[in-house]
Chain length 670, copies 2
Amino acid sequence: MPSPRTTAVHPAWLPPGAFAALGGRRVVVAGDGALTSTVAAEVAAATAAHGGSWARLEVGAGTADADLVLTLAEDDPSNDADEGFRFMRDGGSAVVQAPTERGLLYGFFHVVRLGEDAFAGPDTDETHAPAAELRMIDHWDNVDVHPTMGQVERGYSGGSLFYASGRVRDDLSRLDAYARLLAAAGINRIAINNVNVHAREARLLTEDLAGVARIAAAFRPWGIRVHLSVSFASPTLLGGLSSNDPLDPEVAHWWVRAAARVWDLVPDFGGLVVKADSEGQPGPFAYGRTHADGANMLARAVAPYGGLVHWRAFVYDHRQDWRDRSTDRARAAYDHFAPLDGTFDENVVLQVKYGPLDFQAREPVSPVLAAMPATRLALELQVTQEYTGQQQHAVYLGPQWSAILRFRLAGGPEAGDDGTVAGLVAGSGGFAAVSNAGTDELWTGHPFAQANLYAYGRLAWDPLLDPSAILDEWVALTFPDAPVELGEALHAVLDTSWETYEMYTAPLGVGFMVRPGHHYGPDVDGYEYTPWGTYHFADRDGIGVDRTQATGTGYTGQYPAPWSDVYESLGTCPDELLLFFHHVPYSHVLRSGKTVIQHVYDTHSEGVERVEAMIAAWEPVAGLVDPAVAERVAERLAEQLRSAIEWRDQVRTYFFRKSGVPDEKGRRIF
Amino acid sequence: MPSPRTTAVHPAWLPPGAFAALGGRRVVVAGDGALTSTVAAEVAAATAAHGGSWARLEVGAGTADADLVLTLAEDDPSNDADEGFRFMRDGGSAVVQAPTERGLLYGFFHVVRLGEDAFAGPDTDETHAPAAELRMIDHWDNVDVHPTMGQVERGYSGGSLFYASGRVRDDLSRLDAYARLLAAAGINRIAINNVNVHAREARLLTEDLAGVARIAAAFRPWGIRVHLSVSFASPTLLGGLSSNDPLDPEVAHWWVRAAARVWDLVPDFGGLVVKADSEGQPGPFAYGRTHADGANMLARAVAPYGGLVHWRAFVYDHRQDWRDRSTDRARAAYDHFAPLDGTFDENVVLQVKYGPLDFQAREPVSPVLAAMPATRLALELQVTQEYTGQQQHAVYLGPQWSAILRFRLAGGPEAGDDGTVAGLVAGSGGFAAVSNAGTDELWTGHPFAQANLYAYGRLAWDPLLDPSAILDEWVALTFPDAPVELGEALHAVLDTSWETYEMYTAPLGVGFMVRPGHHYGPDVDGYEYTPWGTYHFADRDGIGVDRTQATGTGYTGQYPAPWSDVYESLGTCPDELLLFFHHVPYSHVLRSGKTVIQHVYDTHSEGVERVEAMIAAWEPVAGLVDPAVAERVAERLAEQLRSAIEWRDQVRTYFFRKSGVPDEKGRRIF
């Protein structure tokens, strides 16, 4: 039987060639335990493929003649939470020493990333450790196939890796390859089902536990713990109770028993993810309780096992009246949660989307992240490209995430890195992100979207990594034998692709303008008269949402200084967020010297030109990659160009029809 | 076992009380045959319920002492096509005499409609006959449940009456009640599946024939013949052939054999309905053949059995580029079909939607209806309220259909009634309409939508009937015991409901402004940048589609005089079609003296006020009807009001934002 690594599934960033630097070397793996065996198996495979030899020894046994020693620390008292490692290079041989098996695993992949550099260069003795203890991937997979959404909500990569035919897959062998990729990127937690928990999926917590345990077993050798999304209404849905009131002892008891059953089967189970009182999901509001009441009740049920409750802050009124300009969805998370700061139990992680709306290509950073110092906060990112091209468009999100992570939200200039988003969450609730992987043979629909999954893991480990350097890593691992032109072309295509996408879609931070339901492609007024709270308020004179304290919804007041003032004033608000915070006339002059309307005309033309340039950069090197990858990329780039043109023409036409202002460059508008 | 008539299903326009005038009378039914037995069973049930006696005799046997004689004609040579009857009243007793059994059935329902008037009033001797031989209902039912459309495409009344669990229902007993209702309204043909023929439904023609035969058997006692929608690609889909080329003898032979199988099982089978080369359905274009080639090939296969081919003229480019204002979907049917006039076989019926677009609340009449004198044309109407409120809104369509039928399209003023739409089609291909009935216990979702189904049948029988009089008939039959206030209230709610619906939706004939996909509710720009060819071209200065010959798409030139000139000129184009034919500034003054923009503001407010008046008219009489009906009506009226307000506010806001012109009445715009 072929191992999953040799099936038709694409190896992504771990092809055999990525391990070539181990070739011809003598490697020692020292230590006991399952994850150490994982490392040993990797070393065995690499030396078998590329030459060299390896041995598994006791910790402290003779390693003198090895080129690479991967060893558990001899005398460190094992702290299971410690995932760091020490990397030493001395005269061309290298040692990875780690206090825990997980540290050893990450140290091994560090060596893989370094390649020949692991053994070359000056002597060194470095310690490495992840910035965040919690580095999680969330899957929005349903057990059943949803009639309109497909099996994976906002999934653009085929079906679910976990479920088929209405239950947990019998054959989970592909999870080994998936877990290996995630581990190599540094991810250590995975939630295996959609936060919108439908009736079928609620039962994962009860009748499907044996399947959940099998999934957990597949991830365990890679240091990844499994979490479940659960319905807050589980006591009534599954337990036959008459209430889900978090202060009802019977409800609490039901959850205590549910937790006991889960950890009984899966002793290293990670915890629960909850979307409550949001977009129709049940929650504590129905019982007049707070989100803290709800989260803490669950937290107490899972605390004895070291379990976590990831409680999502994505709570807003999705039945808003579009006529009512005083309601502002952007305010909702702060309004709901900031007053609860300090009331959540220690094992509750409040999971906060990076922006106040919903994973747009451009939003300001959520003010909630600075508003709850006494709460464990996780930053939620979206690797799946719901609003950024749905893996039809090549959009490398590393630069967006890096900008978010480095943004100095709190504490003013003197706070230093502690005040960055990374500083606020890394030592707190860490990171969570929605996965973009599915049963697609290339994992992610668009082959280049693999880079997003990789980059997320790397940034969760070290939020200050340069996204361009991460792209270098990904290219070197994924295409180990390719000439330098391929890497150059990939940089040309991807480095500024986020900016390009922003250019041809919604302008100046105003967001949305997508088709309701599927969220792909342009529809300028698509959400304008809906209950979803996402409007642009364009009329014949101007556009944008007035979120100032002076004349608008007051949202700017949720920010700490200096941002509350920076965003409040038209004079200081950054151009790229202008329409998020202000309603301005089309004639408003940006810092670039252009009017808003001319900016819209220009960026939408430039966006298309840049997609054409991406294609021109890619085509000469397409023959350097696997034909299946090349074919997929070609098909997606063609669709990206078609879609970008559609965006350009619709947006330009819409605003010309509305403003009546001609393009000063005289280009055709329809 | 209860008969279907006594189950929980609503009796619609044939409750027991509708037969009360037969009570206490002596009735004779004279003649042999299955349909005469149907009449006899009706008479038996009525006299059993209401008193009286009846007898079944030979034709010509003694009938001297009867109050009502229903008899086949003694000496008329039976002409199966003749559905007429003679109605005589003489001194308080009545005779219906018909040359065929079907005529007898329609004569019987004529007596039922007359009620006491059948026996009262002056002596008379009248002959009645339907204006059209073909009076068809089309079902857009799928065998399988479509993932987004449900089982019945554009169905708003539950599931299919014909199919369940992926096949023809085992229990077809409800079809007896449905066929009885259709027959009482005068319908004599039914197509039992969606014109969009998916893979599963294509097989109705082959492996499901036994089921089709059972359906035909249920309709047969009511004089209704069954038709099937078929895929033009059946030879490849079902027969394993490599082509569907209509000029390929092998293809023609496949259809000859298919027809033989069908008529072998169902000797009175009606024929085939085909949507070809339209919205993705296969057709003759793929083989470089014309629609006449395609239709005639099928027609020759079914001709030996007296079968018909209903070939739909709804053919247009559904991948149109919205940027290209020279392409005009309204032109498509004429451009495709008019040149083919005279080339279709005699048993081909070209089925033409009433307007050039798609069943909008307001469109001009299709010019195709006047352009093909040498072709058998059927008028296609839509009883199901796809674009007229989806049976959530009370919209009585009788007045719309009447206006279409009486419209003098052809031949100029001297042509008389022959030039009306009714005159053009009644003696030609007759009528077809999409049914609004489903498994809903009230048949049609909105109880008042029953009136539409009834009115369609009556107008197909006599297109010059007054729609208000038809409503009287429907009220008298449906609510036989109700006081006069109920009828008055129903007139208040329904008589002008079409006009009301038009007021709060798309203005001045411009059409659409609905959500793509489901077509319900407002979305002014919903189709504006789509490939569907249905645009309004609103900008900050004006709105409408220039379809003139002088400066537009030239569509007006498809009309015969005087309409080509009437529509061409802004000075003569009727207001209600203004934006269908012309692009005008918002300041354009209508015949009413109002500007276009003020008309939009006013009609959208008035539309809502009229819905409020409908509710006010209905509420006092709601207690007079069956509580289940009253509850459904109340729920639907509430939704109609909500939806009308949403239409009003979105349309007014959209045009205010675009035009900048304030409402001269100072009402609030958002």
